[in-house]
């Protein structure tokens, strides 16, 4: 992905693939020689979280900060994240926000700090194949609800349309017009078209080849 800012906030509908996109972005940012901090701000989802990749991040020198929640003895998340000082450290920071407007509430707490920070992207991840965002209008409505909930405005769209393991280049190709429409309706630029290797259509704008890190145990064999 081009033009990565110091702070990248990733939002989206439940299951749009925010976490997988965030993990890819963190690994690529670190591989490009940047010190990188990834913040798992998901207070909604108990499973398939950024924090599941703690060991991998450790190996790549990526700092992971997550709420005290899943995999601990807490059933209610507690956020203890010093965002101001992390931003001042000069690291590239990626924030993986929980799904929909509910998930974005946790982000709202940091809105005053984020508004003061000049080098920020807030990217909205979309997936045409998710049940409640199949129409561009629905996707844009959820985007606006997220903005209303956290008090921050998006700066770009990430087309992460996929059918999980059944994704082919046709799957991604069929989503390009949808992504264009979301971009047009929202007035925001399309910043990336994501696809796994071999599934990227030739004519995809802003192609970003990703890996599937979020997967089930029986796929890992």
């Amino acid at each position: 992905m081009r033009d990565i800012r110091k702070l990248t906030i990733i939002t989206g509908h439940y299951g749009s693939g925010k976490t997988n996109f965030s993990v890819n972005l963190a690994l690529d940012t670190a591989a490009a020689g940047n010190r990188c901090t990834i913040i798992d701000l998901d207070i909604v989802n108990p499973y398939f979280r950024t924090a599941d990749f703690r060991d991998m991040f450790g190996e790549k020198n990526i700092e992971l900060l997550s709420p005290v929640y899943a995999n601990t003895n807490l059933d209610i998340p507690s956020l203890n994240i010093p965002l101001q000082s992390i931003l001042e450290s000069g690291n590239n920071v990626i924030i993986d926000v929980g799904g929909d407007d509910e998930g974005a509430k946790a982000l709202g707490r940091f809105a005053p700090t984020i508004r003061e920070f000049p080098d920020t992207d807030m990217l909205y991840v979309i997936n045409k194949y998710r049940y409640l965002t199949k129409e561009a209008e629905e996707a844009v409505q959820i985007m606006r609800e997220i903005e209303y909930s956290c008090g921050l405005m998006h700066t770009g769209i990430v087309n992460n349309s996929s059918l999980g393991t059944e994704t082919t280049s046709q799957t991604v190709k069929d989503s390009l017009a949808y992504a264009d429409k979301v971009s047009e309706l929202s007035g925001l630029p399309l910043r990336a078209t994501c696809a796994v290797e071999g599934a990227m259509p030739d004519n995809a704008p802003e192609p970003y080849v990703i890996k599937r890190y979020v997967r089930t145990l029986w796929e890992n064999q």
Binding site: G15, P46, A70
Partner: protein, 355 residues
């Protein structure tokens, strides 16, 4: 089939319920199945149904009891600790011969346990959940598509036999996402038109129907139970479902259900690649338990391995089903820990699978 969507297991369960004509949902949130309620709270009002968040699990199951008595298709969902709370209501519904669907997305126990996936409620669910002589139908899907299909089937079986039917999943199935397709049929909410027993207003045109589970005369109560067990015999004869893979020549047959069956299948695939004659057997109905299918699957096996996310519960039903005709071993992880395919493969090898 319509275009595929990417859905969470919980969302697929919820959407499938609507499409089966489930007009009323009564629930109470608990991880890892809350998406079912969240989804239905958005969708139900749009299709003319009722979504109600009750004040507790106990209230929700008793609302199901009342609603089911009126002949309308209705459902509740919960996870392990919440199902324990519903146990009294489930017994009453079974005792009143009413159809309903209950979804259980299991998490670690006992007590509040944890929020990670588990199969430690096999005994609880397959032995009826509550008190008394009765059974409930239990379906155990292992993919998101199958979760959706199971809900439809559960409603049909519940109506056919006038009894509760459970779709038994675990947190992993509830939370994972896979492509799923629904047919394009219009959503039609259920009514009581084919249920002459329903207590939905007689309008002075027929004798009133009574929904009841209280029979103070012992011979009368015995008769209702014996009649019910005749229905259970029909179910055990007609409704068993199981899936066998590579069992014909398998020396070790691995038995697992739900998400664990996919881990076991993954281990068996790898074993086959390494030249080990392993097979995979997956009960899809847990009650009725597919006894004949299992006996057929293990016919040529030397040993049977049961894998569960528990300390070993279904393993007892496997031993009973095959009358201990083969040595049955067990491998499990519990408390929310998921058994890895590599661990299962190691167990297959330990059992002599690479002789």
């Amino acid at each position: 089939m319509a275009e595929k969507s990417l859905m969470k297991g919980n969302e697929a369960l919820a959407e499938a319920a609507l499409r089966a004509g489930c007009k009323c949902f009564f629930g109470y949130p608990i991880t890892p199945q809350t998406e079912i309620a969240a989804y239905l709270s958005k969708r139900m009002p749009k299709v003319g149904g009722v979504f109600l968040q009750a004040e507790s699990e106990v209230a929700a199951i008793n609302m199901v009891y009342g609603c089911a008595g009126s002949g309308i298709r209705c459902m509740t969902s919960s996870s392990s600790p919440g199902i324990s709370l519903k146990s009294e209501g489930i017994s009453y519904i079974a005792g009143a011969d009413l159809p309903c669907v209950i979804i259980d997305v299991m998490r670690g126990g006992p007590g509040l346990g944890g929020i990670q996936p588990s199969q430690a409620d096999y005994y609880q669910i397959t032995k009826g959940v509550g008190h008394g002589d009765y059974n409930i139908i239990v379906l155990a899907p292992s993919t998101v598509q199958e979760m959706a299909d199971s809900v439809t089937k559960a409603f049909d079986l519940a109506d056919k036999y006038r009894m509760p039917a459970v779709v038994l999943a675990d947190g992993l199935l509830g939370q994972m996402m896979e492509p799923v397709a629904f047919d394009d049929a219009e959503i039609v909410m259920s009514d009581a038109s084919k249920k002459p027993w329903a207590a939905n207003g007689h309008g002075n045109k027929r004798k009133h129907n009574i929904i009841n589970s209280l029979y103070l005369q012992a011979p009368e109560l015995e008769k209702t139970i014996v009649d019910r067990y005749e229905r259970y015999a029909e179910i055990e004869k007609n409704e068993t479902v199981a899936v066998s893979d590579y069992c014909d020549d398998a020396e070790i047959v691995v038995v697992a259900y739900g998400s664990t069956a996919r881990l076991a299948k993954s281990a068996v695939d790898e074993a086959r690649k390494q030249g080990i004659k392993a097979g995979a057997f997956r009960p899809v109905t847990l009650y009725p338990f597919p006894k004949n299918e299992l006996n057929e699957a293990v016919k040529n096996a030397k040993k049977v391995l049961v894998v569960e996310m528990s300390m070993g519960q279904m393993v007892d039903d496997v031993k009973l089903a095959i009358n201990c005709s083969k040595p049955v071993e067990f491998f499990g992880r519990t408390g929310g820990v998921i058994p890895a395919p590599a661990e299962i493969l190691a167990k297959i090898k330990e059992m002599g699978g690479n002789d």
